[in-house]
């Protein structure tokens, strides 16, 4: 059986993700962001951000507080860690999707020159190791670096459901949501199996 054609909506979000990845971010340059993505795909890491990327991508269930603290001691800021986490988690989403559909990973983009644009927020520690705006739960994990959180919402909305409480349309608040023939319970079964296979028990 041949591969499944790339769905148009997925192709579009992948284009947006590659554009985000290539450009200077909030705390990392475009070159640093692309290098983080390369490390997540198996390139030899050469700094704390890239070491973080490799583990987040391939062995997230092994991550401990001590490992996290060691990265900070090695010079990685918490905000940089949040940015790395955003990049790697979205990369994993698009790479797994392409693999599942039967396509090779898309080559990483060429980085765009320029400096990061730092953004300071009122995020505080509230239920996790990193500061968040509001208690730490899925929609707030990346909130200390707003562009990363917005990017996560973008990918989440295209691949699964919009992370909001709307009771109509493709939103998490709609318990009767159906996308491309996949009903909500089937979606949640796939979600639960994925989480179990990743040893993630939220």
């Amino acid at each position: 059986m041949s591969a499944i054609d790339i769905p148009a909506e997925f192709a579009a979000v992948h284009d947006r993700e590659w554009d985000r990845l290539s450009r200077p971010g909030t705390w990392l340059t475009g070159a640093e962001r692309v290098a983080v993505a390369a490390a997540a795909r198996g390139a030899a890491p050469s700094c704390a951000a890239e070491r973080a990327a490799a583990v987040i991508s391939t062995a997230p269930a092994t991550i401990t507080r001590d490992w996290f603290d060691a990265l900070l001691a090695d010079g990685l800021s918490i905000e940089q860690y949040v940015e790395v986490l955003g990049i790697v988690s979205r990369l994993r989403a698009v790479d797994t999707t392409r693999f599942g559909l039967g396509h090779f990973p898309r080559p990483l983009p060429e980085p765009t020159a320029g400096d990061p644009t730092p953004i300071t927020t009122d995020a505080v520690i509230d239920g996790s190791w990193i500061p968040t705006i509001g208690a730490a739960f899925p929609p707030t994990i990346l909130s200390a670096v707003p562009p990363e959180n917005e990017a996560m919402f973008d990918v989440h909305s295209v691949l699964y459901l919009a992370p909001d409480g709307n009771q109509d349309g493709p939103s998490m608040g709609n318990m009767s949501a159906i996308r491309d023939g996949l009903n909500r319970s089937q979606m949640e079964f796939v979600a639960a199996r994925t989480s179990l296979l990743n040893d993630c028990f939220f």
Partner: protein, 108 residues
């Protein structure tokens, strides 16, 4: 969320099918969704081809593609949670018994 969705729709779901691939969760296409998800998440190239073909046969190409995208989404969400020390809410630790997999209490 699976439990909540099944309750909302009055579906008789066997949650042990989440933890044991050999058990039927009781949803349409449950077995092929399980195999499709496992092959994608574990990046098993040989199994992926077979699982994708079965999923297309049983569910149709668009539904199979959507299931793969949902798995991709949770690859992202799992990393967000595991990388910052967020574990299951205390009130949900009992769900482990329902799916046949003890849940670790990462809060303590």
């Amino acid at each position: 969320m699976l439990r909540a969705s099944a309750k909302h729709h009055g579906e008789d779901v066997n949650l042990l099918g989440v933890g044991d691939e050999h058990l039927d969760v009781g949803l349409p296409g449950g077995r092929v969704l399980s195999a499709l998800t496992e092959a994608a998440v574990l990046r098993d190239s040989d199994e992926m081809e077979r699982a994708r073909t079965q999923a297309i046969d049983v569910l149709g190409v668009d539904t199979a593609a959507r299931a793969i995208q949902v798995a991709g989404n949770f690859e992202m969400m799992n990393r967000l949670l595991d990388a910052v020390g967020v574990g299951p809410p205390d009130g949900l630790l009992g769900v482990g018994d329902l799916i046949g997999v003890p849940l670790p209490d990462r809060h303590h």
